[in-house]
Subunit: 111 residues, 2 copies
Amino acid sequence: MKSIRITNRCPIRTTLELVGGKWKLLILFQLMEKPLRLSELKKQIPDISEKMLIQELKTLVESGLAIRRNFGEVPPRVEYSLTDTGRAVLPLIEEMRHFALFYEEKMVKKG
Amino acid sequence: MKSIRITNRCPIRTTLELVGGKWKLLILFQLMEKPLRLSELKKQIPDISEKMLIQELKTLVESGLAIRRNFGEVPPRVEYSLTDTGRAVLPLIEEMRHFALFYEEKMVKKG
DNA sequence: CAGGATCCTTTACGATACTG
DNA sequence: CAGTATCGTAAAGGATCCTG
């Protein structure tokens, strides 16, 4: 545990850069089950703006967490899926859920 | 797993609100080992501004993750420690480290 | 349908000076 | 030493219009 040092490039910061922010984890989670088109993602995450969705998808692709597949059809059809590395964030998401539940239970008890 | 729905208050969002951002996880991690004074925290996280450190500590206290203890001495002595709930983020941090290492290994192989 | 371009607001973050 | 107050910048996020 003490092997984490807070330097310019520590594991916490690396992960924050990859999946930090308001949307990336939500997007990755949606793609866990199966590949989705842009319009499908929009429905699953209703309150994201189109701009942010496209922008975040682009960075996820660039950092190697997601894959963009263009079917080259008309009308356009594009599908987003996860790489192995993208799938590797699932345990992190599960841990976040676990923490959230723990937190809420604690806080309900204490008021 | 599919019990996570992307609504206004899903576990991912709850956790992001509690420990999201650039600094909170780094601060919490520093406090895992033992309570620290403000000046000690500043040394451990050299590139955080004083303003952010105090501000983030305040929100961590308000959300029940950290505790502020004022010794009432002169010169001032204040110590920050973790609540049980604050300690509960350790698995999350460990998972982040695990992911970062996995990511870096993958990316080194692929170039 | 997917997404580029533009403009705008809001929030996060930071530097510095000051106080008991 | 532990903060507060103020000011400024940078980044994140969002609304809208436009295009192949």
